[in-house]
Symmetry: C2
Subunit: 246 residues, 2 copies
């Protein structure tokens, strides 16, 4: 309580704290965590060789990514009580993929903090990664339940239109076909291998070819879903959609 008061009214970081407060809805306590979250590796690497501990936001990003995934998992679990785990998994990847996080970070104007901490060239990917690191910092600062509240109220409900996402096209085969028709190219699929796993389940390895040249390959338990997976990879490679994994 006292530290919050000092942070907000007295400390030399009070402007930083006020800007954070606008986003968080509460007064942060351990400011060094947030400063770390806004420190990109391109900055810390210059003088980090002499230091024992990494001082950039990559470790926080690892932590924040996991927290974000579990909060989103629970949010969806409760929001869709009658949907199966396939639906939940797909919805989550639509909600917290690289592109969505980049956009949310932009909406929250996290680039302001990155600049304050010395970043000059800020890419889209840096934004999304910074958002994850920010979530990691919040978690270490105030714990799981308050971070969950932040993620649900300030991120998911504010910036993500789940009802729209329910209907978003994840039929990658049809998207790829559309692309090929627009560009007067031909798409074909070929089965590279077909075998049985130890559990005696069939498995298909499929290549997707653009004008006869292999663009991507993928494996799955059915031909159809292997084709979908391969088409998704192909769309990422062409640059039509962005990777969720980034």
């Amino acid at each position: 309580m006292v530290r919050k008061f000092i942070n907000f009214f007295v400390s030399s970081d009070k402007l930083f704290v006020k800007e954070l407060f606008k986003i968080l809805g509460f007064v942060p306590v351990n400011l060094y965590l947030y400063k770390r979250a806004f420190t990109h590796k391109s900055l810390s690497s210059k003088d980090s060789k002499s230091k024992r501990y990494p001082t950039n936001n990559e470790r926080l990003e690892f932590l924040g990514d996991a927290i974000l995934d579990s909060v989103t998992a629970e949010y969806l679990f409760r929001k869709y009580p009658s949907q199966d785990e396939g639906f939940l998994t797909q919805m989550r990847s639509k909600m917290v993929n690289r592109k969505a996080l980049n956009e949310i970070a932009s909406h929250m104007e996290l680039d302001v903090f990155l600049k304050q901490l010395g970043a000059t060239r800020i890419s889209q990917t840096m934004m999304g990664n910074t958002f994850e690191a920010f979530v990691g910092a919040i978690y270490l600062d105030v714990g799981y339940n308050r971070t969950k509240k932040f993620i649900i109220n300030k991120m998911l409900r504010q910036y993500i239109d789940v009802h729209h996402l329910e209907t978003v096209n994840t039929n990658y085969k049809s998207q790829l076909l559309e692309y090929s028709q627009k560009n007067h190219k031909t798409i074909s699929y070929s089965v590279l291998s077909h075998y049985r796993t130890k559990n005696n389940r069939e498995r298909f390895k499929i290549a997707v070819l653009l004008d006869g040249k292999s663009l991507a390959t993928a494996e799955d338990f059915s031909k159809k879903s292997a084709e979908q997976k391969a088409s998704e990879k192909a769309l990422i490679q062409i640059g039509i959609i962005s990777s969720n994994k980034g």
Copy 2:
């Protein structure tokens, strides 16, 4: 408190509760969650068509998987303060991969519960999935912090030798080479494509061939790591190692 007392001493499920208590270290409250966690889809599917909500453990598995990942992320984050996120990611995948979860579920004898709930043929994969669902049930029953305690004290510290895992061989190329030599086969690698991404980073797509036949392909920012990835996939395909992704 009263419910715990009833569960433990009075309810018709008191034996179930006592067995759970041995594993959990506390008395569970909402028993239906645990029963759900131990209900495999092969059982619920028979009569689930008429029901509105899925009654097997797959949704809980989705939730538990996420909780497990985030608790493990924090555990590693704190245990290795000077390691970068690459190390943390690799350690986590060694700790909570499919095979490790299958083994932990066996140690905890979760098959006893699966049998109680009607399962007859219990596969290794079912065990690991059930462990994840169990974690999901614990989370919904007692919240994040107590689930974290359970995961750290009863799972990670008990069944996972992190110091051993630090040294585990993840040099898949050398493992594959070893396999090929033992079996008098030849391993070769070929570059399928080499291009630059939008960020102007090089990218390599590599195929690994066993006696000239393509076993797997993979992409990455360096030839060496694409070869590692492709070798890992090949080892999974041959059945030497098991997939982390389940």
